[in-house]
Protein backbone atom coordinates (compact mmCIF):
# COMPACT_ATOMS: atom_id res chain seq x y z
CA UNK A 1 0.00 0.00 0.00
CA UNK A 2 1.34 3.33 -1.05
CA UNK A 3 -0.31 5.29 1.69
CA UNK A 4 1.22 5.84 5.08
CA UNK A 5 -2.04 6.61 6.85
CA UNK A 6 -4.21 3.59 7.50
CA UNK A 7 -7.83 3.33 8.45
CA UNK A 8 -9.28 0.92 11.04
CA UNK A 9 -11.00 -1.36 8.62
CA UNK A 10 -7.75 -1.97 6.76
CA UNK A 11 -6.13 -3.63 9.77
CA UNK A 12 -6.96 -7.28 8.94
CA UNK A 13 -5.52 -6.85 5.47
CA UNK A 14 -2.42 -5.13 6.77
CA UNK A 15 -1.93 -7.88 9.34
CA UNK A 16 -1.98 -10.50 6.62
CA UNK A 17 0.53 -8.65 4.48
CA UNK A 18 2.75 -8.20 7.50
CA UNK A 19 2.64 -11.94 8.04
CA UNK A 20 3.54 -12.52 4.41
CA UNK A 21 6.49 -10.18 4.78
CA UNK A 22 7.63 -12.01 7.88
CA UNK A 23 7.30 -15.34 6.10
CA UNK A 24 9.30 -14.03 3.19
CA UNK A 25 11.99 -12.74 5.55
CA UNK A 26 12.10 -16.05 7.34
CA UNK A 27 12.31 -17.99 4.10
CA UNK A 28 15.15 -15.78 2.88
CA UNK A 29 17.03 -16.05 6.13
CA UNK A 30 16.67 -19.79 6.65
CA UNK A 31 16.81 -20.67 2.96
CA UNK A 32 13.50 -22.52 3.15
CA UNK A 33 11.17 -22.77 0.19
CA UNK A 34 7.89 -21.27 1.48
CA UNK A 35 6.68 -20.15 -1.93
CA UNK A 36 3.51 -22.12 -1.66
CA UNK A 37 2.58 -20.81 1.76
CA UNK A 38 3.31 -17.30 0.69
CA UNK A 39 1.29 -17.72 -2.45
CA UNK A 40 -1.63 -19.06 -0.50
CA UNK A 41 -1.48 -16.26 2.02
CA UNK A 42 -1.20 -13.64 -0.70
CA UNK A 43 -4.23 -15.06 -2.41
CA UNK A 44 -6.07 -14.99 0.89
CA UNK A 45 -5.03 -11.41 1.47
CA UNK A 46 -6.23 -10.39 -1.98
CA UNK A 47 -9.57 -12.09 -1.40
CA UNK A 48 -9.94 -10.45 1.97
CA UNK A 49 -9.10 -7.08 0.48
CA UNK A 50 -11.68 -7.45 -2.23
CA UNK A 51 -14.25 -8.63 0.24
CA UNK A 52 -13.60 -5.78 2.64
CA UNK A 53 -13.52 -3.05 -0.01
CA UNK A 54 -16.56 -4.33 -1.80
CA UNK A 55 -18.53 -4.30 1.42
CA UNK A 56 -17.33 -1.15 3.07
CA UNK A 57 -19.64 0.37 5.62
CA UNK A 58 -20.70 3.86 4.53
CA UNK A 59 -18.87 5.36 7.51
CA UNK A 60 -15.64 3.84 6.20
CA UNK A 61 -16.27 5.32 2.80
CA UNK A 62 -16.73 8.64 4.59
CA UNK A 63 -13.25 8.09 6.02
CA UNK A 64 -11.81 7.26 2.61
CA UNK A 65 -13.40 10.37 1.12
CA UNK A 66 -11.55 12.44 3.69
CA UNK A 67 -8.30 10.48 3.52
CA UNK A 68 -5.38 12.86 4.04
CA UNK A 69 -3.51 11.42 1.05
CA UNK A 70 -6.52 11.46 -1.25
CA UNK A 71 -5.87 13.43 -4.45
CA UNK A 72 -7.30 16.93 -4.25
CA UNK A 73 -8.47 19.23 -7.00
CA UNK A 74 -5.00 20.65 -7.57
CA UNK A 75 -3.70 17.16 -8.33
CA UNK A 76 -6.28 16.63 -11.04
CA UNK A 77 -5.68 20.06 -12.50
CA UNK A 78 -1.96 19.48 -12.64
CA UNK A 79 -2.10 16.00 -14.09
CA UNK A 80 -5.08 15.93 -16.42
CA UNK A 81 -4.98 19.40 -17.93
CA UNK A 82 -2.36 21.55 -19.62
CA UNK A 83 -1.55 25.25 -19.36
CA UNK A 84 -3.75 25.98 -16.37
CA UNK A 85 -4.15 29.73 -15.87
CA UNK A 86 -5.67 30.49 -12.52
CA UNK A 87 -8.16 33.36 -12.55
CA UNK A 88 -8.74 35.08 -9.27
CA UNK A 89 -11.42 37.03 -7.52
CA UNK A 90 -15.11 37.82 -7.48
CA UNK A 91 -14.65 41.45 -8.61
CA UNK A 92 -16.31 42.83 -5.55
CA UNK A 93 -14.83 41.56 -2.34
CA UNK A 94 -12.07 39.02 -2.42
CA UNK A 95 -10.35 35.95 -3.74
CA UNK A 96 -11.46 32.79 -1.98
CA UNK A 97 -8.71 30.20 -1.69
CA UNK A 98 -11.16 27.38 -1.05
CA UNK A 99 -12.43 27.59 -4.62
CA UNK A 100 -9.95 27.86 -7.44
CA UNK A 101 -10.88 28.54 -11.02
CA UNK A 102 -9.23 29.08 -14.31
CA UNK A 103 -8.74 28.21 -17.93
CA UNK A 104 -6.84 25.16 -19.07
CA UNK A 105 -6.52 22.90 -22.04
CA UNK A 106 -7.95 19.42 -22.05
CA UNK A 107 -7.00 17.25 -25.00
CA UNK A 108 -6.15 20.38 -26.93
CA UNK A 109 -9.34 22.31 -26.30
CA UNK A 110 -10.02 24.99 -23.70
CA UNK A 111 -12.04 24.26 -20.58
CA UNK A 112 -12.95 26.30 -17.53
CA UNK A 113 -12.18 24.55 -14.28
CA UNK A 114 -13.96 25.47 -11.05
CA UNK A 115 -12.78 23.40 -8.13
CA UNK A 116 -13.05 23.27 -4.38
CA UNK A 117 -9.58 22.94 -3.01
CA UNK A 118 -8.53 21.49 0.33
CA UNK A 119 -4.94 21.27 1.50
CA UNK A 120 -2.74 18.32 2.34
CA UNK A 121 -0.67 19.92 5.05
CA UNK A 122 -1.98 21.90 8.00
CA UNK A 123 -0.54 25.05 6.51
CA UNK A 124 -2.21 24.41 3.18
CA UNK A 125 -5.46 23.57 4.89
CA UNK A 126 -5.46 26.81 6.80
CA UNK A 127 -4.74 28.71 3.59
CA UNK A 128 -7.58 26.84 1.87
CA UNK A 129 -9.89 27.21 4.89
CA UNK A 130 -10.11 23.40 4.89
CA UNK A 131 -11.95 23.59 1.61
CA UNK A 132 -14.86 25.53 3.10
CA UNK A 133 -15.77 28.35 0.68
CA UNK A 134 -17.08 31.75 1.64
CA UNK A 135 -19.54 33.77 -0.45
CA UNK A 136 -16.81 35.27 -2.61
CA UNK A 137 -15.80 31.76 -3.67
CA UNK A 138 -19.24 31.07 -5.08
CA UNK A 139 -19.34 34.49 -6.69
CA UNK A 140 -15.95 33.95 -8.31
CA UNK A 141 -17.22 30.62 -9.59
CA UNK A 142 -20.26 32.25 -11.17
CA UNK A 143 -18.18 35.02 -12.70
CA UNK A 144 -15.86 32.50 -14.32
CA UNK A 145 -18.74 30.36 -15.52
CA UNK A 146 -20.20 33.41 -17.23
CA UNK A 147 -16.82 34.07 -18.80
CA UNK A 148 -16.78 30.49 -20.08
CA UNK A 149 -20.32 30.83 -21.40
CA UNK A 150 -19.41 33.99 -23.28
CA UNK A 151 -16.64 32.19 -25.17
CA UNK A 152 -18.35 28.80 -25.54
CA UNK A 153 -15.88 27.06 -23.25
CA UNK A 154 -17.14 23.94 -21.43
CA UNK A 155 -17.05 23.95 -17.63
CA UNK A 156 -15.72 21.27 -15.35
CA UNK A 157 -16.45 21.54 -11.65
CA UNK A 158 -14.67 19.44 -9.02
CA UNK A 159 -16.42 19.14 -5.68
CA UNK A 160 -14.54 18.54 -2.46
CA UNK A 161 -15.78 20.40 0.60
CA UNK A 162 -17.05 19.66 4.10
CA UNK A 163 -19.55 22.45 3.37
CA UNK A 164 -19.66 26.21 2.98
CA UNK A 165 -17.82 27.95 5.80
CA UNK A 166 -20.12 28.20 8.83
CA UNK A 167 -18.62 31.43 10.12
CA UNK A 168 -19.68 34.95 10.95
CA UNK A 169 -17.99 36.49 7.90
CA UNK A 170 -19.66 33.99 5.64
CA UNK A 171 -23.13 34.83 6.99
CA UNK A 172 -22.45 38.58 6.91
CA UNK A 173 -21.57 38.54 3.26
CA UNK A 174 -24.52 36.37 2.37
CA UNK A 175 -23.31 32.83 1.74
CA UNK A 176 -26.93 31.72 1.38
CA UNK A 177 -27.52 34.28 -1.34
CA UNK A 178 -24.31 33.33 -3.12
CA UNK A 179 -25.15 29.62 -3.19
CA UNK A 180 -28.77 30.29 -4.18
CA UNK A 181 -27.75 32.50 -7.06
CA UNK A 182 -25.39 29.83 -8.39
CA UNK A 183 -28.16 27.24 -8.25
CA UNK A 184 -30.38 29.54 -10.26
CA UNK A 185 -27.84 30.83 -12.76
CA UNK A 186 -25.99 27.59 -13.43
CA UNK A 187 -29.22 26.10 -14.75
CA UNK A 188 -29.13 28.63 -17.58
CA UNK A 189 -25.43 28.49 -18.54
CA UNK A 190 -25.26 27.73 -22.25
CA UNK A 191 -22.16 25.54 -22.26
CA UNK A 192 -21.71 21.99 -20.99
CA UNK A 193 -21.12 21.63 -17.25
CA UNK A 194 -19.57 18.42 -15.96
CA UNK A 195 -19.48 18.09 -12.19
CA UNK A 196 -17.51 15.45 -10.33
CA UNK A 197 -17.49 14.90 -6.58
CA UNK A 198 -13.90 13.85 -5.90
CA UNK A 199 -13.96 13.73 -2.10
CA UNK A 200 -16.50 15.25 0.23
CA UNK A 201 -19.70 16.62 -1.23
CA UNK A 202 -20.88 18.59 1.78
CA UNK A 203 -24.46 19.77 1.47
CA UNK A 204 -25.40 23.14 -0.05
CA UNK A 205 -21.76 24.15 -0.09
CA UNK A 206 -21.09 21.34 -2.56
CA UNK A 207 -24.28 21.79 -4.55
CA UNK A 208 -23.39 25.45 -5.11
CA UNK A 209 -20.99 24.47 -7.91
CA UNK A 210 -22.52 21.10 -8.83
CA UNK A 211 -25.38 21.94 -11.21
CA UNK A 212 -23.97 19.86 -14.03
CA UNK A 213 -25.40 18.32 -17.16
CA UNK A 214 -23.69 15.27 -15.79
CA UNK A 215 -23.02 14.86 -12.09
CA UNK A 216 -20.60 12.10 -11.23
CA UNK A 217 -18.80 10.82 -8.17
CA UNK A 218 -15.58 8.99 -7.58
CA UNK A 219 -16.26 5.56 -6.08
CA UNK A 220 -15.27 6.47 -2.55
CA UNK A 221 -16.43 10.03 -2.48
CA UNK A 222 -19.56 11.01 -0.57
CA UNK A 223 -22.36 13.48 -1.23
CA UNK A 224 -24.68 14.27 1.63
CA UNK A 225 -27.35 16.65 2.85
CA UNK A 226 -25.49 16.82 6.18
CA UNK A 227 -22.34 15.26 7.61
CA UNK A 228 -23.00 11.99 9.44
CA UNK A 229 -21.53 13.57 12.56
CA UNK A 230 -23.90 16.54 12.34
CA UNK A 231 -26.83 14.29 11.64
CA UNK A 232 -26.06 12.02 14.60
CA UNK A 233 -25.62 14.99 16.90
CA UNK A 234 -29.02 16.34 15.94
CA UNK A 235 -31.19 13.27 15.55
CA UNK A 236 -29.69 11.00 18.16
CA UNK A 237 -27.97 13.66 20.24
CA UNK A 238 -25.06 11.26 20.23
CA UNK A 239 -22.06 11.65 17.95
CA UNK A 240 -21.40 7.92 18.43
CA UNK A 241 -24.30 7.25 16.10
CA UNK A 242 -22.43 8.66 13.07
CA UNK A 243 -21.96 5.20 11.49
CA UNK A 244 -25.70 4.59 11.51
CA UNK A 245 -26.34 8.13 10.29
CA UNK A 246 -23.88 7.55 7.44
CA UNK A 247 -25.78 4.44 6.45
CA UNK A 248 -29.22 6.05 6.69
CA UNK A 249 -28.29 9.22 4.83
CA UNK A 250 -27.53 7.27 1.67
CA UNK A 251 -24.43 9.28 0.91
CA UNK A 252 -22.24 6.80 -1.00
CA UNK A 253 -21.80 6.78 -4.75
CA UNK A 254 -23.44 3.41 -5.45
CA UNK A 255 -26.54 4.33 -3.47
CA UNK A 256 -26.80 7.75 -5.07
CA UNK A 257 -26.42 6.25 -8.52
CA UNK A 258 -29.21 3.85 -7.69
CA UNK A 259 -31.40 6.74 -6.48
CA UNK A 260 -30.74 8.65 -9.66
CA UNK A 261 -29.15 11.55 -7.83
CA UNK A 262 -25.91 11.09 -9.76
CA UNK A 263 -25.36 9.89 -13.30
CA UNK A 264 -22.01 8.15 -13.23
CA UNK A 265 -19.33 6.75 -11.01
CA UNK A 266 -15.72 7.36 -11.90
CA UNK A 267 -13.95 4.25 -10.77
CA UNK A 268 -11.23 4.39 -8.14
CA UNK A 269 -8.64 1.69 -7.48
CA UNK A 270 -10.03 -0.91 -5.11
CA UNK A 271 -8.12 0.51 -2.18
CA UNK A 272 -8.93 4.12 -2.90
CA UNK A 273 -7.68 6.94 -5.10
CA UNK A 274 -4.86 7.70 -2.68
CA UNK A 275 -3.20 4.35 -3.40
CA UNK A 276 -2.79 4.98 -7.10
CA UNK A 277 -3.06 8.51 -8.38
CA UNK A 278 -2.17 7.56 -11.93
CA UNK A 279 -5.00 5.11 -12.22
CA UNK A 280 -7.62 7.56 -11.06
CA UNK A 281 -6.28 10.28 -13.34
CA UNK A 282 -6.61 7.90 -16.28
CA UNK A 283 -10.19 7.09 -15.38
CA UNK A 284 -11.00 10.72 -14.86
CA UNK A 285 -9.48 11.73 -18.17
CA UNK A 286 -11.46 9.07 -20.01
CA UNK A 287 -14.65 10.09 -18.24
CA UNK A 288 -14.25 13.78 -19.02
CA UNK A 289 -13.38 13.07 -22.62
CA UNK A 290 -16.49 10.99 -23.09
CA UNK A 291 -18.75 13.57 -21.49
CA UNK A 292 -17.26 16.56 -23.30
CA UNK A 293 -17.52 14.75 -26.60
CA UNK A 294 -21.13 13.91 -25.92
CA UNK A 295 -22.19 17.43 -25.02
CA UNK A 296 -20.17 19.07 -27.77
CA UNK A 297 -23.01 18.05 -30.07
CA UNK A 298 -25.69 19.74 -27.97
CA UNK A 299 -27.14 23.13 -28.88
CA UNK A 300 -27.48 25.86 -26.25
CA UNK A 301 -31.11 24.98 -25.84
CA UNK A 302 -30.50 21.27 -25.57
CA UNK A 303 -27.85 21.88 -22.93
CA UNK A 304 -30.03 24.03 -20.72
CA UNK A 305 -33.10 21.87 -21.21
CA UNK A 306 -31.21 18.69 -20.42
CA UNK A 307 -29.80 20.29 -17.26
CA UNK A 308 -33.21 21.57 -16.22
CA UNK A 309 -34.86 18.21 -16.74
CA UNK A 310 -32.07 16.42 -14.93
CA UNK A 311 -32.73 18.35 -11.71
CA UNK A 312 -36.46 18.83 -12.28
CA UNK A 313 -37.23 15.17 -11.86
CA UNK A 314 -35.39 14.62 -8.56
CA UNK A 315 -37.30 13.86 -5.39
CA UNK A 316 -39.59 10.99 -4.40
CA UNK A 317 -43.11 11.63 -3.14
CA UNK A 318 -46.51 10.04 -3.34
CA UNK A 319 -49.34 11.61 -5.25
CA UNK A 320 -52.89 10.45 -4.72
Amino acid sequence: MASSTHLDFEKPILDLYKKIDELQALSDKEGLDMTKDIEQLTQKAELLKTKIYENLEPINIVKLSRHPQRPISGDYIENIFEDFIELHGDRSYGDDHAIIGGLAKFEGRPVMIIAQQKGKTTKENIYRNFGMPQPEGYRKALRLMRFAEKFEIPIITLIDTPGAYPGLTSEERGVAEAIALNLQEMIGIKVPIISVVIGEGGSGGALGIAIGNTVAMLTYSIYSVISPEGCAAILWRDAGMSPLAATNLGLISSKLKELGIIDSIVEEPLEGAHTNYKKVFTKMRAFLKKELTKYSKYSHEELTNQRYDRFRKLGKYTEA
Partner: protein, 297 residues
Protein backbone atom coordinates in the same frame (compact mmCIF):
# COMPACT_ATOMS: atom_id res chain seq x y z
CA UNK B 1 -25.89 22.21 8.84
CA UNK B 2 -29.35 23.31 7.88
CA UNK B 3 -31.08 21.06 10.32
CA UNK B 4 -29.18 22.43 13.26
CA UNK B 5 -31.12 25.60 12.78
CA UNK B 6 -34.28 23.67 12.83
CA UNK B 7 -33.42 22.25 16.22
CA UNK B 8 -32.16 25.52 17.58
CA UNK B 9 -35.39 27.18 16.64
CA UNK B 10 -37.59 24.24 17.51
CA UNK B 11 -37.10 24.98 21.18
CA UNK B 12 -38.28 28.55 21.00
CA UNK B 13 -41.23 27.41 18.93
CA UNK B 14 -42.24 25.08 21.71
CA UNK B 15 -41.80 27.85 24.20
CA UNK B 16 -44.36 30.04 22.53
CA UNK B 17 -46.87 27.23 22.47
CA UNK B 18 -46.22 26.43 26.09
CA UNK B 19 -46.76 29.95 27.30
CA UNK B 20 -50.11 29.92 25.63
CA UNK B 21 -51.12 26.67 27.29
CA UNK B 22 -50.08 27.91 30.71
CA UNK B 23 -53.19 30.01 31.04
CA UNK B 24 -56.37 28.04 31.70
CA UNK B 25 -59.06 28.44 29.11
CA UNK B 26 -56.67 30.24 26.77
CA UNK B 27 -58.41 33.55 27.34
CA UNK B 28 -55.16 35.21 28.24
CA UNK B 29 -51.74 34.62 26.87
CA UNK B 30 -48.36 35.88 27.91
CA UNK B 31 -45.99 37.46 25.39
CA UNK B 32 -42.81 35.41 25.28
CA UNK B 33 -40.84 38.47 24.25
CA UNK B 34 -41.86 41.11 26.80
CA UNK B 35 -43.86 39.17 29.36
CA UNK B 36 -47.01 41.25 28.86
CA UNK B 37 -50.30 39.46 29.52
CA UNK B 38 -52.59 39.81 26.51
CA UNK B 39 -56.26 39.14 26.08
CA UNK B 40 -56.44 36.33 23.56
CA UNK B 41 -59.05 37.91 21.34
CA UNK B 42 -57.19 41.20 21.11
CA UNK B 43 -54.05 39.28 20.31
CA UNK B 44 -55.76 37.43 17.49
CA UNK B 45 -57.26 40.64 16.16
CA UNK B 46 -53.79 42.17 16.21
CA UNK B 47 -52.67 39.35 13.86
CA UNK B 48 -50.73 37.71 16.69
CA UNK B 49 -48.42 40.66 17.10
CA UNK B 50 -47.83 41.78 20.68
CA UNK B 51 -49.35 45.28 20.93
CA UNK B 52 -46.76 46.23 23.51
CA UNK B 53 -43.42 45.04 22.10
CA UNK B 54 -44.52 44.24 18.55
CA UNK B 55 -43.15 40.74 18.75
CA UNK B 56 -44.44 38.88 15.70
CA UNK B 57 -45.60 35.44 16.78
CA UNK B 58 -45.45 32.61 14.31
CA UNK B 59 -48.51 31.77 12.24
CA UNK B 60 -49.72 28.54 10.71
CA UNK B 61 -49.85 28.53 6.94
CA UNK B 62 -53.61 28.95 6.97
CA UNK B 63 -53.50 31.87 9.37
CA UNK B 64 -50.91 33.44 7.07
CA UNK B 65 -52.97 32.73 4.00
CA UNK B 66 -56.04 34.39 5.51
CA UNK B 67 -54.30 37.67 6.16
CA UNK B 68 -52.46 37.71 2.85
CA UNK B 69 -54.84 36.91 0.02
CA UNK B 70 -58.32 38.15 -0.88
CA UNK B 71 -61.14 36.27 0.83
CA UNK B 72 -62.23 33.10 -0.98
CA UNK B 73 -59.71 33.68 -3.76
CA UNK B 74 -57.33 30.82 -2.89
CA UNK B 75 -57.47 27.75 -5.09
CA UNK B 76 -55.18 25.14 -3.63
CA UNK B 77 -53.13 22.91 -5.91
CA UNK B 78 -51.19 19.72 -5.30
CA UNK B 79 -52.73 19.14 -1.85
CA UNK B 80 -52.59 15.42 -2.52
CA UNK B 81 -48.80 15.21 -2.49
CA UNK B 82 -47.39 13.54 0.58
CA UNK B 83 -43.91 12.44 1.62
CA UNK B 84 -42.29 9.13 0.71
CA UNK B 85 -39.71 7.45 2.89
CA UNK B 86 -37.33 6.62 0.09
CA UNK B 87 -34.36 5.89 2.40
CA UNK B 88 -36.28 3.86 5.00
CA UNK B 89 -34.87 6.34 7.47
CA UNK B 90 -34.98 5.68 11.20
CA UNK B 91 -33.33 7.61 13.95
CA UNK B 92 -34.81 7.58 17.43
CA UNK B 93 -38.10 7.48 15.59
CA UNK B 94 -38.95 6.12 12.16
CA UNK B 95 -39.45 8.80 9.51
CA UNK B 96 -42.71 7.05 8.61
CA UNK B 97 -43.99 7.66 12.11
CA UNK B 98 -42.81 11.26 12.08
CA UNK B 99 -44.86 11.78 8.95
CA UNK B 100 -48.00 10.43 10.59
CA UNK B 101 -47.45 12.53 13.69
CA UNK B 102 -46.82 15.72 11.78
CA UNK B 103 -49.94 15.17 9.77
CA UNK B 104 -51.97 14.61 12.94
CA UNK B 105 -50.53 17.69 14.60
CA UNK B 106 -51.06 20.08 11.71
CA UNK B 107 -53.65 18.52 9.45
CA UNK B 108 -51.21 19.09 6.60
CA UNK B 109 -49.73 16.59 4.17
CA UNK B 110 -46.41 18.40 4.31
CA UNK B 111 -44.86 21.70 5.33
CA UNK B 112 -46.40 23.90 2.64
CA UNK B 113 -49.64 24.84 0.94
CA UNK B 114 -49.58 26.19 -2.61
CA UNK B 115 -52.09 27.55 -5.02
CA UNK B 116 -53.45 30.44 -6.98
CA UNK B 117 -54.97 33.46 -5.32
CA UNK B 118 -55.69 37.14 -5.67
CA UNK B 119 -54.09 39.96 -3.73
CA UNK B 120 -56.16 43.11 -3.97
CA UNK B 121 -57.57 41.68 -7.17
CA UNK B 122 -54.28 40.70 -8.80
CA UNK B 123 -53.53 37.11 -9.66
CA UNK B 124 -50.59 35.45 -7.97
CA UNK B 125 -49.22 31.97 -7.49
CA UNK B 126 -48.50 31.59 -3.82
CA UNK B 127 -46.85 29.08 -1.51
CA UNK B 128 -46.87 29.36 2.27
CA UNK B 129 -44.70 27.16 4.45
CA UNK B 130 -45.68 25.91 7.87
CA UNK B 131 -42.99 25.65 10.52
CA UNK B 132 -45.27 23.46 12.61
CA UNK B 133 -44.86 20.58 10.20
CA UNK B 134 -41.43 19.07 11.00
CA UNK B 135 -39.85 22.48 11.42
CA UNK B 136 -40.90 23.50 7.95
CA UNK B 137 -38.17 21.27 6.57
CA UNK B 138 -37.89 20.92 2.81
CA UNK B 139 -38.24 17.39 1.54
CA UNK B 140 -39.30 16.26 -1.91
CA UNK B 141 -42.92 17.28 -1.41
CA UNK B 142 -42.09 20.83 -0.39
CA UNK B 143 -39.63 21.10 -3.26
CA UNK B 144 -42.04 19.66 -5.79
CA UNK B 145 -44.94 21.84 -4.65
CA UNK B 146 -42.83 25.02 -4.76
CA UNK B 147 -41.53 24.04 -8.18
CA UNK B 148 -45.01 23.40 -9.55
CA UNK B 149 -46.28 26.62 -8.00
CA UNK B 150 -43.55 28.59 -9.76
CA UNK B 151 -44.09 26.71 -13.00
CA UNK B 152 -47.76 27.60 -12.78
CA UNK B 153 -46.82 31.25 -12.37
CA UNK B 154 -44.54 31.01 -15.39
CA UNK B 155 -47.23 29.38 -17.46
CA UNK B 156 -49.89 31.87 -16.46
CA UNK B 157 -47.45 34.79 -16.65
CA UNK B 158 -48.24 35.96 -13.14
CA UNK B 159 -46.14 36.86 -10.08
CA UNK B 160 -45.02 34.18 -7.65
CA UNK B 161 -44.83 34.67 -3.91
CA UNK B 162 -43.28 32.16 -1.56
CA UNK B 163 -43.58 32.81 2.17
CA UNK B 164 -40.95 30.68 3.87
CA UNK B 165 -40.47 29.52 7.38
CA UNK B 166 -38.25 26.54 7.40
CA UNK B 167 -35.35 24.89 9.18
CA UNK B 168 -33.83 23.92 5.83
CA UNK B 169 -33.44 20.58 4.12
CA UNK B 170 -35.11 17.50 5.59
CA UNK B 171 -32.37 15.10 6.67
CA UNK B 172 -34.61 12.07 6.63
CA UNK B 173 -34.89 12.33 2.86
CA UNK B 174 -31.14 12.56 2.39
CA UNK B 175 -29.91 13.81 -0.96
CA UNK B 176 -33.41 13.87 -2.40
CA UNK B 177 -33.98 16.70 0.01
CA UNK B 178 -30.82 18.60 -0.95
CA UNK B 179 -31.76 18.39 -4.61
CA UNK B 180 -34.93 20.41 -3.93
CA UNK B 181 -32.68 23.43 -3.56
CA UNK B 182 -31.56 22.99 -7.16
CA UNK B 183 -35.03 22.16 -8.45
CA UNK B 184 -36.81 25.16 -6.93
CA UNK B 185 -34.03 27.52 -8.01
CA UNK B 186 -34.19 26.11 -11.52
CA UNK B 187 -37.92 26.79 -11.69
CA UNK B 188 -37.22 30.37 -10.64
CA UNK B 189 -34.67 30.68 -13.41
CA UNK B 190 -37.37 30.07 -15.99
CA UNK B 191 -39.81 32.35 -14.21
CA UNK B 192 -37.18 35.10 -14.25
CA UNK B 193 -36.45 34.56 -17.93
CA UNK B 194 -40.05 35.57 -18.60
CA UNK B 195 -39.53 38.83 -16.70
CA UNK B 196 -42.05 37.87 -14.07
CA UNK B 197 -42.08 39.07 -10.47
CA UNK B 198 -40.95 36.83 -7.64
CA UNK B 199 -41.31 38.06 -4.09
CA UNK B 200 -39.69 36.00 -1.39
CA UNK B 201 -41.10 36.62 2.06
CA UNK B 202 -38.81 35.12 4.67
CA UNK B 203 -40.61 34.58 7.95
CA UNK B 204 -39.31 33.58 11.34
CA UNK B 205 -37.36 31.32 11.02
CA UNK B 206 -35.89 30.73 7.57
CA UNK B 207 -32.56 28.93 7.59
CA UNK B 208 -30.30 26.35 5.95
CA UNK B 209 -31.03 25.05 2.49
CA UNK B 210 -34.24 27.03 2.22
CA UNK B 211 -32.39 30.31 2.64
CA UNK B 212 -29.66 29.09 0.32
CA UNK B 213 -32.07 28.45 -2.53
CA UNK B 214 -35.42 29.95 -3.59
CA UNK B 215 -35.86 32.13 -0.49
CA UNK B 216 -32.87 34.36 -1.35
CA UNK B 217 -33.83 34.69 -5.00
CA UNK B 218 -36.61 37.22 -4.83
CA UNK B 219 -36.72 40.22 -7.11
CA UNK B 220 -37.53 41.49 -3.68
CA UNK B 221 -36.60 39.75 -0.47
CA UNK B 222 -39.03 40.80 2.25
CA UNK B 223 -39.35 39.89 5.90
CA UNK B 224 -41.17 40.74 9.11
CA UNK B 225 -39.38 42.51 11.97
CA UNK B 226 -36.84 40.49 13.96
CA UNK B 227 -37.31 37.26 12.01
CA UNK B 228 -34.45 34.77 12.25
CA UNK B 229 -32.90 34.32 8.81
CA UNK B 230 -29.59 32.61 8.16
CA UNK B 231 -27.69 29.77 6.63
CA UNK B 232 -25.64 28.03 9.32
CA UNK B 233 -26.93 27.67 12.86
CA UNK B 234 -25.72 30.15 15.44
CA UNK B 235 -24.34 27.43 17.70
CA UNK B 236 -22.35 25.85 14.93
CA UNK B 237 -20.92 29.24 14.03
CA UNK B 238 -19.97 29.97 17.63
CA UNK B 239 -18.20 26.62 17.80
CA UNK B 240 -16.39 27.35 14.55
CA UNK B 241 -15.19 30.85 15.27
CA UNK B 242 -15.01 30.52 19.06
CA UNK B 243 -16.55 33.94 19.50
CA UNK B 244 -19.85 35.33 20.71
CA UNK B 245 -22.10 36.46 17.90
CA UNK B 246 -23.55 39.98 17.60
CA UNK B 247 -26.80 40.46 19.50
CA UNK B 248 -29.03 40.87 16.47
CA UNK B 249 -27.14 38.24 14.43
CA UNK B 250 -29.27 36.66 11.69
CA UNK B 251 -32.25 38.87 12.47
CA UNK B 252 -34.15 40.82 9.81
CA UNK B 253 -32.56 44.13 10.72
CA UNK B 254 -29.06 42.62 10.61
CA UNK B 255 -29.71 41.08 7.22
CA UNK B 256 -31.01 44.35 5.87
CA UNK B 257 -27.87 46.15 7.00
CA UNK B 258 -25.87 43.42 5.28
CA UNK B 259 -27.65 43.94 2.00
CA UNK B 260 -29.80 40.80 1.80
CA UNK B 261 -33.27 42.15 2.58
CA UNK B 262 -35.07 44.82 0.58
CA UNK B 263 -37.62 45.82 3.14
CA UNK B 264 -38.87 44.81 6.57
CA UNK B 265 -42.65 44.92 6.60
CA UNK B 266 -44.76 44.73 9.78
CA UNK B 267 -47.47 42.09 9.60
CA UNK B 268 -50.40 44.48 9.36
CA UNK B 269 -48.79 46.18 6.35
CA UNK B 270 -47.72 43.03 4.51
CA UNK B 271 -50.75 42.59 2.30
CA UNK B 272 -50.87 46.20 1.13
CA UNK B 273 -47.10 46.15 0.60
CA UNK B 274 -47.35 43.11 -1.65
CA UNK B 275 -50.33 44.61 -3.49
CA UNK B 276 -48.41 47.84 -4.06
CA UNK B 277 -45.39 46.09 -5.53
CA UNK B 278 -47.54 43.90 -7.73
CA UNK B 279 -49.44 46.92 -8.99
CA UNK B 280 -46.28 48.88 -9.80
CA UNK B 281 -44.56 45.99 -11.56
CA UNK B 282 -47.77 45.18 -13.47
CA UNK B 283 -48.31 48.78 -14.57
CA UNK B 284 -46.54 48.64 -17.91
CA UNK B 285 -48.03 45.33 -18.96
CA UNK B 286 -51.51 46.49 -18.06
CA UNK B 287 -51.03 49.75 -19.93
CA UNK B 288 -50.09 47.79 -23.04
CA UNK B 289 -53.07 45.48 -22.66
CA UNK B 290 -55.40 48.45 -22.30
CA UNK B 291 -53.96 50.05 -25.41
CA UNK B 292 -54.39 46.83 -27.34
CA UNK B 293 -57.97 46.49 -26.17
CA UNK B 294 -58.78 50.04 -27.25
CA UNK B 295 -57.16 49.44 -30.62
CA UNK B 296 -59.16 46.29 -31.13
CA UNK B 297 -62.38 48.14 -30.38
Amino acid sequence: MSILDWFATKNSANKSVTSKLDIPGNLWIKCIACGETLYSKDFEQNLKVCPKCEHHFRLTCHERLNITVDADSFIEIDYDLSPADSLDFTDIKAYKDRIVEANKKTGLNDAIITGEAKINGSDVAIGIMDFGYMGGSMGAVVGEKITRCIELATKKQIPAIIMSSSGGARMQEGMNSLMQMAKTSAALYRHKQQKLLFISVMLDPTTGGTTASFAMLGDLNITEPKALIGFAGARVIEQTIKQKLPKDFQRSEYLQEHGMIDHIVPRNKMKSFLANIIEMTNYHKQKIEETETVEQE
